[in-house]
Symmetry: C2
Amino acid sequence: MVTLQDVRDAAARLDGVAHRTPVIHSRTLDARVGAEVFLKAENLQRIGAFKFRGAYNAIRKLSPEQLRRGIAAYSSGNHAQAVALAAKELGTTAVIVMPEDTPRSKLDAVAGYGAEVITYDRYTGNREQIGARLAADRGLALIPPYEHPDVIAGQGTAALELLDETGPLDAIVVPVGGGGLIAGSAVAATGLQPGIRVIGVEPEAGNDTFLSLAAGRRVSIPVPRTIADGQAAPTPGELTFSINRELVEQIVLISDDEIRDALRFAVDRLKLVMEPSGATGLAALLAGRLDPPPARLGVIISGGNIGAARLAELLA
Amino acid sequence: MVTLQDVRDAAARLDGVAHRTPVIHSRTLDARVGAEVFLKAENLQRIGAFKFRGAYNAIRKLSPEQLRRGIAAYSSGNHAQAVALAAKELGTTAVIVMPEDTPRSKLDAVAGYGAEVITYDRYTGNREQIGARLAADRGLALIPPYEHPDVIAGQGTAALELLDETGPLDAIVVPVGGGGLIAGSAVAATGLQPGIRVIGVEPEAGNDTFLSLAAGRRVSIPVPRTIADGQAAPTPGELTFSINRELVEQIVLISDDEIRDALRFAVDRLKLVMEPSGATGLAALLAGRLDPPPARLGVIISGGNIGAARLAELLA
């Protein structure tokens, strides 16, 4: 499992490497939702998302021999850039398996960090299998996007910093995709402050963790269709679910329209750019979806990688 | 005149009232411009712009009798909201003179802080005269947007916080409209660190301070047509120019297209929403307009009040 000490150790490894992102407080937001809200702005993290924390922590813990051989990872999104940058910072190489229809800008960003990119057809290929075979063939260390204790511990440092800055909170609200960010955050938050409520947010179409918690076991759903592409996991991770079923109080669901409203609010009132997945915690708040409403809460804004053209489209 | 001590006193008044906005550092930006850059994110300030600093400081210094009578101000932009909010915070009332074609959202924001709004026709009316007559008729204290030592001292606290956080810099880069922000910033920065370069940025169409510095006296230009509406002043203030002619090294000019590029860069890479005027310092950097280029510099991002619809339009 993952412990508070693991998260603290991860924080020491990340010190001076990851940004200690600002905690943003807006009286306008407080007035709107009737609570005291603290936003942990991981959209301002390196590579534009919390993912750098977990990737760096996991790669930093590899042996010199593993670092000599290099890293493998699969991701269509922020984890790809996170692994590529962390590998570069740690003087090793990375091979990233990405869907062939990934936007050019994301492929370029990953290649720009010096990583090798291997593309596959997302409709016929299985990225876990491709990644595992690649790692085996080339002797690479595979860093998965969430099913790894060191990745989870790294992600938990976001909540550690948040609570360090705010002091006691009634709840933290965290977006849920594969479940790594909320698992690490839950370990950190409940470790620091037993009894704190840990609330997850999923898009309505990507409600696999919601259904899994209700069923008491991991449930699979069809690949979700949602603008929150970072939360399109069809099933929770085994490791992340084993943590989240113990530590997460509830999952709330929000619609794509509510996410759009949150993106707009973020631009109009907070002056922050969020990607749809990154804004789901804010969306849950604005939609009044928390029951009972916490009086003093933290929300992790998990990422901001949306791009100007797509943002313009979603705001229009 | 305005001294470093005035700025320090303003900072004490603003402590716990204004946000101590984050200083944002982006390795991507550093790599792009070949310098170490620190962005003072005043777009994350209360009311979304630095203007709250000066308005609050000036109103806070009024006598109990003046506070009892109330405040008058004229502004089509951020100063209106700044005065309205500062007046509310200090338990007094404000009357704001605004053009009748001000966007509804801005009128609502000002009224939302409890201020009375008086509109005028910007093509036939003179806002300074209307404001002065209103103040005289009703016995109100007039808080101008930049021609006031307490307003200037308040604006200077942005640079004070910036340098406090970064330590010595080679230069600060500051947008120039009426000249209040750069005057206060220049007093603070050169007071803290004699010899620091103070560089102003104006839109090409709004080059009144550029021309005035070249002429050695205040020059008037036709009302500028630029997307940087916060910098559309046709002539520098008398007080601000008397400070800026002593302390500002140079003014650089940028085009509206360069400002658009900076807005896009801010969204894509920094995850920050800036209004056009707020992004001109960044635009000057990205356009390579600083000569000689400073190695380590601060840039004041002065505001972020653009609105989702207008941002989408400018990004498209």
